[in-house]
Structures are given as C-alpha cells and as structure tokens.
Symmetry: C2
Subunit: 322 residues, 2 copies
Amino acid sequence: MKDEFQLIEKLLAHAPLQPSGDHGGIRIPAGDDACLLKPLKNPVVTTDTQRNNVHFKLSWQTPEEIGEKAVAAALSDLAASYAIPVSIFVNLAVPPSIKDNTLEAIYRGIKTALVKHNCSLGGGNVSRGRDLSLDMFAVGEGHDDIFPLRSAAKAGFGVYSTGPLGLAAAGLDALKRGDASFQRLISSFKSPSARFDAAGVLLQHRVPCVMDISDGLCGDAGHIAKASGITIKLAVLQEQIDPDLNAYCRKYDLIPENVVLSGGEDYELLFACEPDRYEKVKRDLRGTFQVGECLSYSDEHITGIPSGVASFRHGARSRSAT
Amino acid sequence: MKDEFQLIEKLLAHAPLQPSGDHGGIRIPAGDDACLLKPLKNPVVTTDTQRNNVHFKLSWQTPEEIGEKAVAAALSDLAASYAIPVSIFVNLAVPPSIKDNTLEAIYRGIKTALVKHNCSLGGGNVSRGRDLSLDMFAVGEGHDDIFPLRSAAKAGFGVYSTGPLGLAAAGLDALKRGDASFQRLISSFKSPSARFDAAGVLLQHRVPCVMDISDGLCGDAGHIAKASGITIKLAVLQEQIDPDLNAYCRKYDLIPENVVLSGGEDYELLFACEPDRYEKVKRDLRGTFQVGECLSYSDEHITGIPSGVASFRHGARSRSAT
C-alpha cells in the first residue's frame, strides 16, 4: 500500500458504484465525506465481518471467493429481513504482507456478488492492520408492511429450513483435513448464496418469523425460541440429510444429525409459521423441510438435541447483534 | 469472551438503542438479523475505522476515550455532509487479551458520544481478531436540498477552516514523547468534537463545498482541489496559529506552519465559498479563518507548501472513500 488513496481508486474501479441504470440507489457516490443514497422508506441495515484465519483462510480460498462470500454473508441478513439490497460499504484492514493484486482480486469477487444482487458499492475505508479483514455494512430497502421478526414464533408453529444444512460445516471440516474429494460440500462453505429467492416466497406467503442460519440450526433456533419466549423441539429426520453430507460423515465417522444441528454458515433461511401456511409455502419453494416445532415454553428454549451437540463455533465465528 | 452473545447483550446495555423519546430513528432494534430504521429522505452513510496501535493506543487513552472518539470521528463525516446523526453500527474485533470490562468501558464512551449527538446504536458485530478495532458505520439524515461536495469549489473562492489546526498532531507527538505538559493539545487528539455546530452555520449560509479535516490541511485541501479541478494556494498566517501549538513547537524545535499543514485528526471543517459569503459566515461562526484561495488549475492541485511538508501520516492513518 504505497498510497492508500490511489489504492482506493484502484479498488473502486473493480466494483460497480452504479450497477444498473438507476445508479444503484446512490445519488452522491463515495469520494465525498459520505455517500448520499436514494430515499429509503424502510431502511434496513446490517453488518458482518470476515477475517483471515477466523472466517476464511487465504490458503483455502481465492481472494475472489473471499470477496464474493463477504457480500453474500452480509446480504443474507437483508434477505432474512425481506429487504432488497441497495448499497454495501466495505472497511478493509490490510497487513503489509498483502499485495495490491490480492486486494484487487477481493474487489473483483465483491463486484461479482454486487452485480448478481444489483447492489451498489457505496464506499468504505482502507486501513492497516495485522489481520486481513472485511467489515461489511449493508443497506437495504425493507418491505412496506412486513418485517419478519425472531420474536414472532408461537406455540403451534412449525420450524422450517429453506434448504439442506450442515454442508458448509462439513466443507470446512474437509478443508481442515485437506480432503478435496467433497467439492460440493467445500463449495457450500466457500460460495454460499443469500436466499433472496426463498425470501421472496416467504414474503409472498407472509411468513412472520425468519432468520438466516449463520451460526447453526441449534444456535439460531435458540435465538428464535428465546426472542419468542417459547420452546422449540428440534427433530432432524434422517431422510432430510443431504446424501453428500451422509457420505462425508460415513468416511470420517461423524454423526450427520449432529453436523446438521451444530454446523453453521449455510445461509439458508430458518422460518416459523402455522403448518397450513407452510403447506402453501412448500408448494412454491422446493427443498424446504421441517426441522422442529414450537411449543409453549417449558424449562429450556431448545429440546431434542442429542448430548454433545453445541452450536457451531470454529475458531472463528463472529456473533452479530444485527 | 466466554459467550459472545452474552457479551453483546452486556455491551448493548451500555449504549442507548433509543436515546430519546422518538426511539432514535430505530423501528426494529438490533437483535434481529438487521435493524429497521425510520424512513430516510436523504440517507447519508459513512464509515470509519479505529484500530489499536494504528489510530489509538490503549496505553495512551482510556477505553472510554477510545469509544467516544470513534463515534466523533465517524459522525464528523455526517457533519461535513450537513446530515443529522440517526444511528451508528459498531463492528468490534477483540483479541483474547482484552477483558470484557475494557469493552464495556469502550461502550460507555460510545454511549457518551451517542447521547451528546442524540444518535442511536443500531447494532453491530463482535468477532475475534489480533488487533482491537472498531469499525464504525454511521447513518444520517441529509438536508433536503443541499449536499456539500468536495467538487463544488471554484476559482475565486476562499478556503477556510472552522477552527485551529495542528493541535491534534502536536498532541499525538506529545503522547509519543511522553510529555504530559500540553494537556490541551493531547486532549485535541484524544477527544475531538464533530463540528455539527459549525456545519449548522455553513448550511444556513449555503456553503457549497465542505469536508472534515481528518488527514491534514494539505491532504484534505488536495482532495477538494482535485475533485473541483482547480489549484488551491494554501497560506497559513502566523497569527492564525494556536498559541499552545506555537509553545509546543518552540519546545521541540518544530515549525508550527508545517504542523498546521500536515497534522491530521483535528476534525475541523474545511470549506470553500465566495469571499462575500464567507464574510457572513464569519459573523455567525467564531474561530473561523482563511487558509487558502482557489485558483484556476495550473500544473499542481496544491501550492504554497514549504518543501518537506507531507500530508499527515502516522503509522496509522486510514484512508477513506466515504
């Protein structure tokens, strides 16, 4: 980093300030002290962090993959809030050992993800630090009359996932073991998708309780149970477990159900609603399945967990208040 | 950090989610995947980073001072954009050596600054890292019909500062030397103010070109000159130099003018406008003075700098694109 201003200019050249004809929601772009966005009726804001050796490893992932995942992880929270991406801001911490071309590659990955979601890059900050890290700040436009809440689950609701769980955790495990024979699992860890498609269906059916599964089913269902003052009884059926995950667990003598319950970073959506509402959701959304049921609170927020299963925590996981 | 979720709850207890009766602009607070803010007609967004041993030192500053300055530095960009603070988001990176009570003290400082500016804490993220750092994301409500721009300076305009410069840089130098006898200078470095008061006056007089001086007069005037396609001739007069800065420079054989030109982190506002508009501003805003003039572009964006003066860069400075 000879000149950080020049570097910022170089990096911004890789990312779309104005991804589409409508200027990506930006009225005054980065370059001034702040960025002026288009008016927002329902401004939805979330933050996320991706740090080397905590959330990713430069030796496991390409810089492009790191940039792309950082955006997906931040936007996933907007999907879980029924919000449309407007703009993202990236604070980069850069150790002296990191070359500019690595940073440019990270920004190419950021750009790929932004273009995919028609989201603009509003700005950001570059500073020196010992850890390479990306602090992401995402701004979205929420829906006019529904904001899904963790606190909206009720006894009698079912609890559902929009897709297979445990794959990313198994992929991370495979990376740690240096086993490259489970590319689909590894790809689940490296290249998650923010499920805006699924969120659209849940919104259409006015599902009131949604969150993304970043910390693992067990931990994230716990957030819903706690916020809603209920008990959630989790029950992962063998037939819901992904075949690749089963194969991986056979190879390494792991219990697939435990990986599903504790494995994080799948970025599927976890939602709760009345069973009859779910029947309609299921018709419009392939791959969704039940993972538990909501009960009146008794003693514990989560039941149905085999002993020894903890919420997913690699050296790494961050905990978010947004 | 035994349990990061518990830690977040403890930290949020120190900061006002809803500082005033109007919920501080927050409709759905942190705790869900994202935060829902009140409608924003002119959403103004900026980011900033404060990192240990780069922007601050735990051995120099109390944790409260660090938290308070982090907010002031982020909000300063909103002031320079004629925006009113709405909500701030804080991503914290925490090394294992940092005790929870240090983090709680940082949040007490954050709270002090938020209360001062009637700004809410929208949420944030806590993750592990080797460097203690605060990544700040600030959201404000801009003015309906004026957004000051770096690109709005014109030949014939004067260039002005809302207050004394170089004090923070001298204070930092005093901290490095371990000289505690210049408390006002040290305090300028540790406890800067975001100049919303001055911004209000500039707005009232519709000054078109404003930015905050975080990187030093020389560098920041350069941003205006470059964005506006002009040359700025800087001229710092001896009588404008703060008496304490003069005294400090005498003690250590420094050239005060050079400290004024290159010293950063004063967080005064730098602005450019017609000289007759400035005459009116000056009547309403004490302490403001001229630092240069705008000329048609010729060869260089900044002239009038003695040789050997560079833009302020301690081991430390971050460069911002917002």
